[in-house]
Amino acid sequence: MKFRNKGFRRFGVGFILSWSLIPIYWVINTSFQTDAQISDTPSHLLPPTPGWANYKALLIGDGELPSLVRRSVINIFIECIAATAITVILASLAAYAFARMEFKGRKFFLFVVVMTMAFPTYTTLIPMYRIMAMLHLVNTYLGIILCYVSGFLPLATWILFSYMQSLPAAIEEAGSVDGASRMQVFRLIVLPLTMPAIASTAVITFLFAWAQFIFPLVLASDQSTQPLTVIVAAIQGRHVVPYSLLSTAGVIALSVPAVIALLTNRFIVSGLINGSVK
């Protein structure tokens, strides 16, 4: 059926591509230029003398800046991977109970989960800091990871719950007739069937964790635990750092989520839809 002309689609496709890609292309382009080249008028559409100088300056050597950046890359991986793993495990256990078991308080607990999803960040920021300070968890990996898990757990549970609920119960009943315990049914039947939703949840949680800024800014007071995002902002805050290095830091920080998003966009889309339609 053709009710819409080809011109509209062509314009739309062109618009989406340029809207999404031009800013990303531009930062990559500048990361391969010197500061003098970046300041040239008109701007260079391609790097005139492409080279890895900016990347080497940020990542290689014993200087203060490269050690800071390397450390923050390690930190962000530790924090994101740990938060994602804990979130996915705890969320799938809870989602299984909500989707497949009858118990007193089930409806109430589900309501609480949905309600906490609507809390804006700033409701919890200051008390979160004070609780972590009380527990001596400021500036520790554990403090940051616990904070992330608490933030992402409700959404993760909701995505997995809505997915598990849509699975036909008949398959599991066959399993329990064969004498399998409920946890065996979970491990051997439900979990493998839920894999697409688990992948969605893991990817979305990882990307959310990678993007965090204000919580680690408050909870990580020195470079031993500060993730890449906080360091990138700190580099930006020092006025001596030229834009060539800043854009390179930006490219380093966006490379991981960009590659993940391109490779797993199907899971992201289905997860976002599952997580939002109530």
């Binding site: 059926m1 819409r4 509209f8 689609r9 618009f15 989406i16 809207w19 999404s20 800013p23 531009w26 500048t30 970046i38 300041s39 008028t41 701007s43 256990l93 109970a97 078991m101 009858e102 118990f103 607990f109 609480v112 804006p120 960040t121 700033y122 409701t123 919890t124 920021l125 200051i126 008390p127 004070r130 609780i131 616990l146 608490s150 933030g151 409700p154 549970t157 990678w210 993007a211 800024f213 204000i214 408050v218 995002t229 990138v232 902002a233 930006q236 805050g237 834009y243 800043l246 830091a249 930006g250 920080a253 966006l254 989520p257 960009a258 993940i260 998003a261 966009n265 199907r266 839809i273």
Partner: protein, 290 residues
């Protein structure tokens, strides 16, 4: 016979519930109570102060100006992200070659940290090296480079909000597209037979039926724009042009170390968010039938 209580489900949900109680509900209750106390670590003791924090915070000139700024962020952000979201979703409505690659590209900005987006767009808005100035000058639209950020308040807010719109529009698109794809083709076919053109079909079939998708998109856009922090923090730094409510909350609490006022402001933001989300959802979100 006494029925034994099934403990397994409680065991399975307990980690989730413990996390929610300790690190979401407790902080929320804490915020609500402490908003009525004077809490200043550098100026003890802490004591009950009634509505004083709310009074002080609402008389604070910077908070007031950030309130106005945030209102602008919300209006610009919600309008742009919704209009673009509807446009993108309509482009992606039917299958065509390369559609899944286009969706992957569309998602990209959503996946990137706000801090990084601030840096990306610095390269576009910058007054000395920004590509926008370069392009506008080459096209002879401007004679000399313009300052987009930090001088004119409205221009600053617009430029910063475009960066956030870049980040949140993919989610709006996906939410609207999910509803759009449920509209049966027959409806469009029947309309075409009855002599409807693309414009009429869009106005009389698409728009009314995607209302639930728009409602969710609008609510998520309000929550995101109301909490804008990373983008102005990076793009405009400590300059007070375009300060958002979230930045003011951070400054009051962690720069002025006046936690009591910080709690009061957080509480007001939270109540406002919950209130608008519910109203908008009620107003736009009505079940549609095909």
């Amino acid at each position: 016979m006494k029925k034994k209580v099934d403990l397994l489900p409680y065991f399975l949900v307990s980690p989730l519930i413990i996390f929610i109680i300790c690190l979401a509900l407790t902080p929320a209750v804490f915020t609500t109570i402490a908003a009525f106390f004077k809490v200043q670590p550098l100026n003890p003791p802490t004591h009950f102060s009634g509505l004083e924090n709310f009074r002080d915070i609402l008389h604070n000139a910077e908070v007031r100006s950030s309130l106005g700024n945030t209102f602008l962020y919300i209006i610009i952000g919600v309008t742009l992200s919704t209009v673009l979201g509807i446009f993108f979703a309509v482009v992606l409505q039917r299958r065509f070659t390369g559609r899944s690659i286009l969706i992957a590209v569309l998602i990209l900005p959503w996946a990137l940290p706000g801090v990084v987006e601030g840096i990306l767009w610095t390269g576009i808005w910058d007054a000395n090296t920004g590509v926008l100035n370069s392009v506008l000058k080459s096209l002879h639209v401007i004679d000399h480079y313009q300052v987009f950020l930090g001088q004119n308040k409205f221009l600053t807010i617009l430029a910063i909000e475009v960066v956030q719109v870049w980040q949140i529009t993919p989610l709006s698109t996906i939410l609207i597209l999910a509803v759009l794809q449920n509209i049966p083709d027959d409806l469009y076919e029947a309309a075409t037979i009855d002599g409807s053109d693309a414009k009429k079909s869009f106005l009389h079939i698409t728009m009314p039926l995607i209302r639930p998708g728009i409602a969710i998109a609008v609510v998520q856009a309000i929550i995101a724009t109301l909490n804008i922090f990373d983008q102005p923090y990076i793009l405009n730094g400590a300059a007070s042009t375009g300060n958002s409510l979230a930045m003011e909350t951070y400054a009051v609490s962690f720069t002025n170390l006046n936690f009591g006022q910080g709690y009061a402001l957080s509480l007001l933001i939270t109540l406002f968010t919950l209130f608008t989300s519910v109203v908008i959802a009620k107003f736009i979100y009505k079940k549609v039938e095909y």
